[in-house]
Symmetry: C2
Subunit: 84 residues, 2 copies
């Protein structure tokens, strides 16, 4: 099954990459953009049929390796229309 | 309104970061992981009430700055439960 992990900086943590993109967009004339935050999206293909167990395992992966839980939040999503 | 842009490498484009994560997960004992791909998730706060117009503007931003359309695909998503 395909599991997607969205990792984003916690509220209050400075996001210089988002800031830089926001400024560039404004320079390019996209003045309607008031805030930009950048995160990561990790797509995992996992040999596990049980959704609850997959979520649990992926949460472990996030805590151990994928996310820096001091400054980042993660969100686990099971991809729908899973055919693999 | 909050608009989310998911940027991922096109199929067939090598993803060394995903590879490295996959290897590390396997080293840590997460053997059920067969494939890892890493993408970006950009959250934009936009002063635009019309959803269709917001999508159109964000598509322009992707083509101009956010994505490298030679090797990357993008996907635009309007965040639900939008209160801002």
């Amino acid at each position: 099954m395909q599991v997607i992990v969205n990792i984003s900086l916690k509220h209050g943590v400075l996001d210089p990459q988002g800031r830089a993109i926001g400024r560039s967009l404004s320079d390019l004339g996209f003045d309607e953009v008031s805030d930009v935050r950048v995160g990561k999206r990790i797509m995992l293909e996992i040999d596990e049929a049980d959704e609850a167990r997959a979520r649990q395992r992926v949460a472990r992966m996030c805590e151990t390796l994928l996310a820096n839980t001091v400054i980042e939040d993660y969100e686990i999503e099971i991809a729908e229309g899973d055919s693999e």
